[in-house]
């Protein structure tokens, strides 16, 4: 997690605030270590290394997290797929990189399919060598929720955990006023498009501006559709407010993967407040006048 991450806590004194913040940060680091693709000893790396081989035993936290991911896979009709990380090998979001064609994508698409992953209550097995599990689509949001939970259990009532825009708010400022959360302008860095008042709950944003390639005036972003291998179109960004960051993050990611009309329909069906910027720049503010 290389972006700006912060924990803000209101507490009776500075040392109390520091120790609460430390608790939250420790929990974030724990989850990062446990599910990072970049660490050879993480749960994810062990599962990926055993692809095509024997099932890997996982603990309850991992099993329940994968249950959640399974629910997202179902609700998104297969678009939210944690095995789609292999597309990374064809899509490099760096200057000078080219748009992959069908020849590069086809072998990768053959290694994608959450429905093929074999699970029992305490094991996971990727049936094909080359298949990969990637927690990047929900790991950060889970870390936010866990950090917020440890803060709440430690007695914090007014705090915010923010991991690069995916955040959870425990309660308003001590004077009762809500935290004002800026929605990043999808096309202008350092500019906020709107300031949303949030007293509790979580906010997560999915956007096409974090990593992308631009060719012929068309933006190809890092949110990739596992069925075609191509980037999602229709939104510049989607921000959702939900009781947990996991739900907010999945909701916004699934909206982007569904495209404009189906995505908006999906967001409406959730009946959660949301803020979306469409591909053509139109803003849909359903944050205050929500259902």
């Amino acid at each position: 997690m290389a972006a700006l991450n912060e924990v803000q806590v209101h507490a009776p004194d500075v040392s109390a605030a520091r120790s609460l913040a430390a608790l939250a940060i420790a929990e974030v680091r724990r989850i990062e270590a446990k599910y990072s693709r970049y660490r050879a000893d993480s749960v994810v790396s062990r599962i990926n290394a055993a692809a095509g081989g024997a099932p890997v035993t996982v603990d309850e936290e991992t099993a329940k997290l994968l249950d959640y991911v399974d629910a997202c896979f179902r609700q998104s009709r297969g678009r939210f797929d944690p095995t789609s990380g292999v597309l990374r090998r064809a899509w490099r979001f760096e200057p000078g990189a080219s748009i992959p064609g069908l020849r590069e994508l086809r072998p990768l698409l053959a290694a994608i399919g959450w429905h093929r992953v074999e699970r029992t209550p305490d094991t996971v097995r990727l049936p094909l060598a080359g298949m990969e599990l990637d927690f990047g689509g929900f790991g950060k949001e889970y870390a936010v929720d866990r950090a917020a939970t440890v803060l709440r259990e430690a007695g914090a009532a007014s705090a915010i955990v923010n991991l690069a825009g995916d955040l959870a708010v425990l309660g308003p400022h001590p004077d009762g006023s809500p935290w004002r959360i800026g929605v990043q302008h999808p096309r202008k860095r350092q500019v906020a498009l709107a300031a949303l008042p949030v007293s509790c709950g979580a906010l997560a944003t999915s956007g096409d501006y974090e990593r992308y390639l631009e060719a012929d005036g068309v933006r190809h972003c890092h949110v990739l559709d596992p069925r075609t291998g191509r980037p999602a179109r229709g939104f510049q960004s989607v921000t959702v407010h939900a009781p947990s960051c996991l739900v907010a993050g999945s909701a916004s990611t699934i909206a982007m993967l569904l495209g404009r009309d189906a995505g908006l329909s999906w967001l409406e069906s959730l009946e959660l407040p949301y803020f979306a910027v469409l591909e053509d720049g139109i803003i849909v503010d359903r944050f205050r006048s929500g259902p």
């Binding site: 936290e61 329940k64 997290l65 249950d67 959640y68 399974d70 629910a71 997202c72 179902r74 609700q75 009709r77 889970y142 929720d145 866990r146 917020a148 939970t149 709440r152 259990e153 959870a168 708010v169 425990l170 949030v198 007293s199 509790c200 709950g201 979580a202 407010h241 939900a242 009781p243 947990s244 996991l246 739900v247 999945s250 909701a251 569904l258 189906a262 329909s265 999906w266 069906s269 959730l270 009946e271 959660l272 407040p273 944050f287 205050r288 929500g290 259902p291």
Partner: protein, 390 residues
């Protein structure tokens, strides 16, 4: 590929948030309760009505209601009301003073009416079906009603079609005549369409056909007529046809004006029945936002009705088969201004106060020709309503 995608979209389950939340709850995380903007599960409410007619009737009516949504698929509604009517009701129309007038016999009434309603509604994707049951009981009147209604959302919820069937079985008695025990059975048929016209406007039009058979007479009313050429007057007890078929056509229009932060609400109802009554109801209201929590709604309602064929304040000669001098079947018009104030709080509490004035008179009838025996009605009412969404 596009066609199959669309087909898949249409079959997406109706409870995605519930599915995700349930899976998230299994994890060791504590879900915050999001703001009031998130999905509601239900509401409970209480209202009280006070109504006073000039010197005549006073009604207080506490109403309790509740609504509960289960699983995003089922919705249950229940409500109960208690009417407490005190005062006196006009029972006799006599022309002894020369021209026909209503007279109250002096007996005061203290009536209690209990009503209860239950409704269950189930969603099947874009369709929904609801069944309801209502009962109403007072000392001299008992009613059971049953209804079933179906709705279909078309064109991505821009058009909604509704069809309904209802059946009502009433038993009429009399507190002054214990031997009276008559039935009245009614069937109702409803068809309606709601159409979104633009992001700012929506219209609904509903047609209801009612067919009733049975006892429609009012057991407490009669007409006493003196003729200049006869010594003895004629007393005719209220007697109405044994059937009543009616059509009501209600159209409602809502248009929001974002610049003014207000909404125009217009309702029009056309009514005709085979008793010869033609009536129009028009209500215009403007609901104005005053900040985030308050809104105010001034409204004006106009009502006009023509008399029933068998309405007459005097008994004609020769004596007819059916006759009623109940001025509610006469020709008159009514103007009713009202004002409502609404307070909505973030925690889901809503407080609503409505005050209104009712003025019914023969002179207000559209096009003139109001019944000359019509006694002008002047009444005020106040309603206070509280509800809590959760």
């Amino acid at each position: 590929m596009a066609a199959t995608e669309d087909a898949e979209e249409g079959r997406r389950p109706r409870a995605p948030l519930a599915a995700l939340t349930q899976a998230a709850l299994a994890l060791p995380i504590v879900l915050a309760s999001a703001r009031a903007g998130a999905a509601q599960v239900g509401e409970v409410g209480f209202a009280a009505l006070g109504y006073k007619e000039r010197g005549l009737i006073k009604v207080t009516e506490p109403v309790l209601w509740g609504r509960l949504q289960v699983d995003d698929v089922w919705e249950f509604e229940a409500s109960g009301a208690l009417d407490i009517v005190t005062g006196a009701s006009p029972e006799l129309v006599t022309n002894l003073p020369g021209t026909p007038v209503q007279s109250v016999t002096g007996a005061s009434i203290n009536d209690r009416r209990r009503t209860a309603q239950l409704r269950a509604k189930r969603r099947f994707g874009d369709f929904s079906l609801s069944v309801s049951r209502a009962v109403s009981n007072e000392e001299d009147y008992h009613s059971h009603a049953f209804a079933i209604q179906g709705e279909a959302d078309l064109d991505q919820h821009r058009t909604t079609l509704a069809i309904g069937l209802g059946k009502s079985n009433d038993r009429v008695g009399s507190s002054i005549d214990p031997a009276l025990d008559e039935r009245r059975d009614t069937r109702e048929y409803l068809a309606g369409v709601t159409q979104v016209l633009s992001p700012l406007a929506v219209v609904q039009s509903t047609l209801t056909v009612t067919r009733g058979k049975g006892w429609f007479n009012d057991p407490y009313k009669s007409t006493l007529t003196f003729y200049p050429d006869e010594i003895l007057p004629v007393l005719f007890a209220d007697r109405r046809p044994d059937h009543r078929n009616a059509v009501a056509w209600l159209t409602r229009y809502r248009r929001h004006f974002p610049g003014a932060s207000g909404t125009l609400q217009a309702d029009y109802r056309l009514f005709r029945d085979d008793w010869g009554i033609r009536a129009h109801t028009l209500e215009l209201a403007w609901q104005q936002d005053l900040g985030e929590r308050w809104s105010i709604r001034p409204a004006l309602r106009y009502y006009t009705q023509g008399a029933a064929d068998f309405y007459s304040p005097v008994v004609p000669r020769p004596r007819p088969e059916v006759l009623s001098s109940d001025q509610r079947l006469g020709a008159f018009g009514g103007l009713s201004p009202s004002l409502r104030l609404v307070l909505r709080l973030e925690n889901g509490l809503t407080v609503e106060g409505t005050a209104g004035y009712v003025h019914d008179a023969a002179s207000l009838r559209l096009g003139g020709g109001g019944s000359e025996a019509f006694t002008t009605l002047r009444a005020v009412y106040g309603i206070l309503s509280l509800s809590r969404a959760f």
